[in-house]
């Protein structure tokens, strides 16, 4: 029986009559769709997971004293013993200026130094940060124990805690003095979450104490090593940087402070990843072009084999547009089957390749990643229909008398 539209039905039957040929052509589309979709998904997951790793701290603007030389991009006290050689610090009045410029954004003044630490028999070095206790949670996450409250309480980084077998309640001696009576001691009240690469402070190998404890132990009250501004709205980072620069570096031939933010770096990385992904997707698209050629070939064959049939259809009253429709439907059916199977398979292949290459499938089921499935399918179907246009046009343009004469 003729179901639906008669032209759809004729198209279906033509596909079925030449099943192997049609399936081989559809296979090209399957492969093409898998290629572009899988690469697209991989690119999206790569970009998402890399930028998620990098953007921890991407909304942070770091203000450090200008020391005259380039200290590299990663401004921070973890960078080495530079602090010991310079008297330059962010002063209390500069901090007030920053606070005014920052407005509603959180401003965190940070003391930092490097010191020898002793835990039981083991001796090592660590960075000691002094932070206002109420702002610690803006920068760091405690995974175990309690947040910083005051007194001798300290938070330790995840790496430091495992290196020195630190647990809640462990005591750490700061400094190199042998006299335990006068030595500065802190007690571990909490252990920080593993932080990984960060543009904020490097806390994995650090000890965090309150600013009060820090200045009591090391002095230098009101002379901060750096100030961090946590910008609530990422799009405002540029403004915050500019305003801080204007305010603190005005009238100065030599700037007073260095202002840096990872946001520009982040956008460079993201756009580079995007370019790589586009390039790979283009490589995948080549397979789709090959598939398009094979669909074109199949459609041309279908038209040439059915010249006589087209003549009959035309002579008994089928319009040109209806002939065109019939062949475009045929291309669409091949495309839809191929692209559908391709899209389905690319979910699996995409998952596997994300697992293998990105190593993290957290972002796989997000819209930004799975959008490539319908997109790939659409491109696959569109490729087929586009390849079918010329053959369909050729079929509809046949002279019915000539076509009827064909064998």
């Amino acid at each position: 029986m003729i179901g639906m539209d008669i032209f759809t039905s004729l198209a279906f039957r033509s596909v079925r009559l030449h099943l192997l040929r049609s399936l081989l052509a559809a296979l090209g589309i399957v492969i093409g769709v898998i290629a572009i979709t899988t690469l697209g998904i991989m690119g999206a997951n790569l970009t998402l997971s890399v930028s998620a790793q990098l953007s921890r701290g991407a909304n942070v603007v770091t203000v450090t004293p200008y020391t005259g030389g380039g200290r590299g991009f990663m401004v921070g006290p973890g960078g080495g013993g530079g602090e010991a050689n310079t008297n330059l610090n962010i002063t209390q009045s500069q901090l007030q200026d920053i606070e005014q410029v920052a407005g509603s954004n959180t401003v965190i003044p940070i003391y930092a130094t490097s010191d020898q630490i002793t835990v039981g028999p083991s001796v090592g070095r660590a960075t000691i940060y002094g932070l206002p206790p109420d702002k610690v949670s803006d920068l760091l996450t405690v995974s175990e124990g309690t947040p910083l409250r005051g007194g001798e309480g300290a938070l330790v980084g995840a790496t430091l805690s495992s290196d020195f077998d630190l647990t809640i309640g462990s005591r750490i001696k700061l400094g190199s003095t042998a006299n335990n009576a006068t030595a500065k001691m802190v007690r571990v009240s909490g252990i920080l979450e593993q932080q990984g690469a960060s543009f904020s402070i490097n806390a994995d190998r650090a000890i965090i104490v309150t600013d009060k404890y820090y200045t009591a132990a090391y002095g230098g009250s009101g002379d901060y090593t750096q100030v961090q501004i946590i910008v609530n709205d990422l799009s405002q980072i540029g403004n915050v940087i500019n305003n801080t620069d204007k305010r603190l570096n005005r009238n100065e031939k030599i700037p007073a402070v260095r202002i840096s933010s990872p946001s520009q770096f982040l956008s460079t990385v993201t756009s580079t990843l995007g370019s790589i992904t586009s390039f790979m997707t283009m490589l995948g698209a080549i397979s789709l072009i090959v598939a398009a050629v094979s669909i074109f070939n199949v459609m041309i064959m279908s038209v040439s084999e059915r010249v006589r049939e087209i003549g009959i259809l035309r002579s008994i009253g089928t319009r040109r547009s209806e002939i065109r429709k019939m062949f475009l439907y045929e291309a669409f059916i091949i495309g839809f089957i191929g692209a559908g199977i391709g899209a389905l398979l690319s979910v699996f292949s995409g998952y596997l390749i994300v697992l293998a290459i990105v190593g993290n499938t957290t972002y796989f089921f997000t819209p930004a990643s799975l959008i490539f499935v319908p997109q790939g399918m659409f491109i696959g179907v569109a490729t087929c229909v586009l390849s079918g246009i010329y053959p369909a046009w050729r079929a509809s343009d046949l002279d019915p008398i000539e076509a009827l004469r064909a064998e």
């Binding site: 009559l17 006589r308 009959i312 002579s315 040109r320 008398i401 009827l404």
Partner: protein, 224 residues
């Protein structure tokens, strides 16, 4: 068998432009065919009889002159109008049956009806028509390849009749059939002619031409 002609050829000339020379297939042919006529067109190969049938069948337009179908000039029609005319007013019966290989006998008959009304047909009407040409429901489910020549031509006649056309155009309708089957087909065409269909038939078989009321002979593109 009177009144206005259903088909009028007015001074029709058809020239095919070939690389070597122009071939005049029809040379100033004028012809009126009235409702209910049964006309046989005869003539040797290459005489222009197929060209004449193609003009009447609206598959081709004359180089000069005009063809009027039910008073309408085909020169002024665009391709879609000609196509719709073929669908609604003309029924084609070919020597080689020309059924659509992808469709069953039933669907072949249903096809022009769907083209015309853009919707599924009433199966009763299709089966009734198939019964009239001697095809039962069991045969109707087969594709043309599974039917004999005579059966295929019967299905083709049913297809030609399904949109209730005024005119049946037959191009050697018995040419591929044995004489017994050919006779059956001709008797069937005669019965449709008696019911009022105008029939124009191309043949080179004088016995077949004998079924027609009138025979026109074409020679070198002219009515002899």
């Amino acid at each position: 068998m009177s009144g206005d002609p259903v088909i009028s050829l007015v001074d029709v000339t058809k020239v095919y432009h070939m690389p070597a020379e122009d071939v005049v297939a029809l040379d100033h042919v004028t012809l009126d065919i009235r409702r209910g006529d049964f006309i046989a067109i005869m003539g040797p190969s290459g005489s222009g009889k197929s060209t004449l049938l193609n003009q009447i069948g609206c598959l081709d337009r004359p180089t000069e002159g005009d063809v009027l179908i039910n008073g309408r000039s085909i020169r002024e029609m665009n391709d879609n109008e000609l196509t719709d005319l073929r669908r609604d007013t003309l029924g084609y019966i070919f020597q080689t049956f020309n059924l659509i290989p992808l469709l069953t006998a039933y669907e072949n008959v249903e096809y022009p009806l769907i083209l015309r009304y853009k919707s599924r047909a009433d199966p009763g009407k299709i089966y009734e028509l198939l019964r009239q040409v001697g095809i039962d429901e069991a045969l109707a489910i087969h594709t043309p390849a599974k039917l004999s020549g005579g059966q295929q031509q019967r299905v083709a006649i049913a297809r030609a009749l399904v949109n209730n056309p005024d005119i049946l155009l037959c191009d050697e309708p018995t040419g591929n059939l044995d004489s017994k089957t050919g006779t059956q087909i001709m008797e069937m065409l005669c019965s449709f002619n008696e019911k009022g269909k105008t029939i124009i038939m191309v043949t080179h078989d004088t016995r077949i031409a004998g079924y027609a009321h009138e025979t026109i002979t074409i020679r070198d593109g002219k009515i002899a």
